[in-house]
Amino acid sequence: GAGVSQSPSNKVTEKGKDVELRCDPISGHTALYWYRQSLGQGLEFLIYFQGNSAPDKSGLPSDRFSAERTGGSVSTLTIQRTQQEDSAVYLCASSPGTSGGPRQETQYFGPGTRLLVL
């Protein structure tokens, strides 16, 4: 496919369990972003990858959240010991990257993973 894909599309889990969310960016895009969108809220920046490295982890809400990216492509966001307040839509976006200058920063979003923690 040509767009950003995310899996699963929906995830229901019990409080205290770990979850993994996956993002497949557009082929060739070097920058990848994770956001969280809670009901009625704006997008909350979580983490940004340039290639496989994450120069900015300041948005991760707690040490229960971690993310990695391998091969400059697929990224996984892991939430350990989930809490009810983690329920939200987790959105991934990719962009061509900064090497081309500001005009490469347009982000293309995936459909999101809807996480519900019971």
Partner: protein
Amino acid sequence: EDQVTQSPEALRLQEGESSSLNCSYTVSGLRGLFWYRQDPGKGPEFLFTLYSAGEEKEKERLKATLTKKESFLHITAPKPEDSATYLCAVFQTGNQFYFGTGTSLTVIP
């Protein structure tokens, strides 16, 4: 504190009734301002990028403008299919994106 504010939160228009959405920002080191459209249950869809004050972009019934402190998204003669939430985001030096909370637009036939 860096901030992006969108107004109004919600807007109801009759089909054909033109209006404007506002995005004001206080971030420093602006590298670009983006407008997105988000339909329920979907990820945001890119509309425009503006890079400098005075710049304008147009696409069908939408026109985006930028000043040093705010951006406007003008909707001319809207149709029901323009109903969506419109998000504004600023891209700052340091690769930080700041999103507003959006304007929910409803166009009534």
